[in-house]
Symmetry: C2
């Protein structure tokens, strides 16, 4: 298959990789996009899958379907294990793919701050598998509490701890509070789900550090009114299956969710470049590697500095813009033009807390409550891929708004759950 | 928790168990329904989850939610392992539940006709896990074919065998043909999905043995026009991961689906009653056990004979009516009245083949094509539980009708799929 055309390989089908591939649709090149999953995942709504509000298929789109009309592009389902910069090859489980230009967009995973033993007791939220695992833990805790004769254990089953006060932690804590107070009402006979304690722990001085202090203050107050205890400035010292130890305190809770830290994809280690303490790769201003101008790094794996000197946050808009920019720079190179430096256009930040409650900072305009929530809904529906998904998600949201129900409360995939004898 | 009230335990939350529990809502008894899953599964649409047309959450409803207003009923998430008729106890993984009356509705699993080694290569379709596993196999076969340099292996990856010509086998074969011919169009660069062979194998003389011969003939013709090869009268002699061996023939195919036989739940072995060759329990005319009038068996686990002497088929309407009848007989006993014999009201049978194509036999009126297909749609939406699910399913069907897309093509849960390194 060598038709003489330049070969561009994109590794990763998240926001960075998918938007890069789309931006290459008119490039005079053969484009291959690899991902270990056959779908692009809309991570901003992953917390809704984790809390039963949406189904996995509704926030994911097959990469092939998205790119099917793009004749110069092929999709490869492959788990990339290694990048060989010298040979210009990408190695996956069953072969390798050569490249002339490479865009690496493999994102980030969880960081347990050196405590890998916490991973099995406090799952993080990055993949659909993570989301279904968290969902299973939340709903099974109530099932076990319903059938539990020991009041101390029942208390620990009813209580939830979310570690990390960024947007994901806030969204999860808010959604769990709504499940406890509203969704599960009248569902049980021996417990009152509304008696659940939901505790959001943040080591830093406040939640939502990426947003203005007054927005964080409003979010803290709103979470409190919804029944979430927000505890800031308290570092976690240990996490076990029975609970969470803090400096000077211990919270017995059987369900602990980790939203406290990320670490860039280990593929960054193959890129012969400096990395920051989160493992992100230091790139040149045009997003290429300093010693390999044919390799670009975008999204959560890239360490890109904003004009104020701070690294850009690991959010979808940054990844999309970087992906598009790397694609454009490759197209410029192919046209014999010099690359251009990347500049992030910050259109604002949003975080949702619950029903009719969100905070938004849109180019300095700060919104809270219903207006911010509507802005949040609009932006998320707009960027969700697939008309089919958009309508389904809007329907589930409208139904949930009217009834407090969550459309997909299935407990699936537990250890040994499907090996039983009863049917 | 002994308030002196009679305790009725229902084991199994399928059609039989759930409709029994619902029918007990006004009974002067404490009702407990146990299932190893937290949801009721609408099995007639399971093939659509297996082929990517619907998401798991759309054909399942939490049992707690369905029964939340029923004050005399509690739901227990429990994998029942044993029934102790002498002590009148149901034993599950973490305890036991005593009963005064018991309804056993644990259904059926697959039967591999003594060839358990076929199970891992040719999965059957009974649970959501089965459906996701079949979906993964179908879509991953195309992914592997796209990246396969060996023409013989590629051929085997593109070909599909469905074993068993009952309604499930027909539905699966028809849906796979639509995926190959329409859904995946333009999605690949190195293969043509429309070149897939889909072979439906039936050991008996014709497909759809439960329906009239002319309906089966129409279905065979329609399947042929859709690109499904129907082969009847050919018993399978071996199934391996490379293909299917028949008497006098061998079909290389990497994706084989088993829809050829069922076997009643092994819990039937605890019921001290005669069982037929499929493991179904012979019950008295009132659906109770001959030696244990306090124990009722309903649904696919029960062997109930129709007036024509043939056992009733393992379909949803039979299970629903039996469940309701057992509940009514318990209520009669509680009121000091004698039980009544069960009589099945046969409202007809339906099987769908594809777009605008189904066959129906409604009280002797035989329909084929669009009319039967609309009847099929109507009945399935009507019995699907949850307004939320009904709207979502109707939407996905309308969208699929207009575009040939399938809303949930995610490949999930494969062996080692989520353990990679790329992000």
């Amino acid at each position: 298959m060598s038709d003489g055309k330049t070969r561009v390989v994109v590794v990763g089908g998240g926001f960075g990789g998918l938007y890069a591939a789309k931006a290459l649709r008119r490039a005079p090149a053969r484009v291959t996009i690899c991902d270990r999953n056959n779908y692009h995942l809309f991570q901003p709504l992953l917390y809704q899958v984790a809390t039963g509000g949406l189904s996995p298929g509704e926030i994911a789109a097959p990469i092939r379907r998205v790119l099917r009309q793009q004749a110069n592009t092929e999709v490869l389902l492959a788990d990339v294990r290694e990048i060989d910069l010298a040979r210009r090859e990408v190695h996956h489980a069953s072969g390798h793919v050569p490249y002339d230009y490479l865009i690496v967009a493999t994102g980030a995973g969880h960081s347990y701050l050196g405590h890998l033993e916490w991973q099995s007791v406090a799952p993080g939220l990055k993949t659909l598998e993570d989301a279904l695992s968290i969902r299973r833990r939340i709903y099974i805790a109530y099932e076990q509490a319903e059938d539990c004769g020991d009041p101390v254990l029942r208390r620990a089953l009813l209580d939830f701890v979310v570690i990390g006060g960024g947007p994901t932690g806030v969204e999860l804590a808010g959604a769990i509070a709504e499940i406890a107070r509203r969704t599960l009402r009248r569902n049980f006979r021996h417990i009152d789900p509304a008696a659940s304690r939901i505790i959001l722990i943040e080591a830093g001085p406040r939640i939502l550090p990426g947003l203005a202090p007054e927005l964080a203050a409003w979010a803290t107050k709103t979470l409190g009114a919804m029944g979430v205890e927000v505890r800031t400035g308290v570092p976690v010292t240990d996490v076990t299956r029975d609970g969470v130890r803090l400096v000077g305190d211990y919270i017995p809770a059987r369900t602990v969710i980790w939203a406290a830290g990320v670490e860039a994809s280990p593929l960054g280690g193959d890129l012969a470049a400096q990395r920051d303490r989160l493992g992100r790769v230091q790139v040149s201003s045009d997003l290429s590697l300093p010693d390999h101008p044919e390799v670009f790094v975008v999204g959560d794996l890239a360490h890109v500095v904003a004009p104020d000197g701070r690294p850009l946050p690991g959010v979808a808009p940054v990844a999309m813009q970087e992906g598009r920019h790397a694609a454009r720079n490759i197209a410029r190179r192919l046209a014999g033009l010099p690359t251009e430096p990347f500049r992030y256009r910050d259109r604002g930040a949003l975080a949702t807390i619950g029903r009719k409650a969100a905070v938004a900072d849109i180019r300095g305009v700060r919104l809270v409550g219903l207006t911010a929530w509507l802005a949040w809904l609009f932006v998320h529906i707009m960027y969700l891929i697939g008309f089919d998904n958009r309508v389904a998600v809007l329907w589930h949201w409208a139904y949930a708004y009217a009834t407090f129900e969550r459309s997909d409360r299935l407990i699936t995939g537990g250890p040994g759950e499907s090996a039983g004898r009863s049917g």
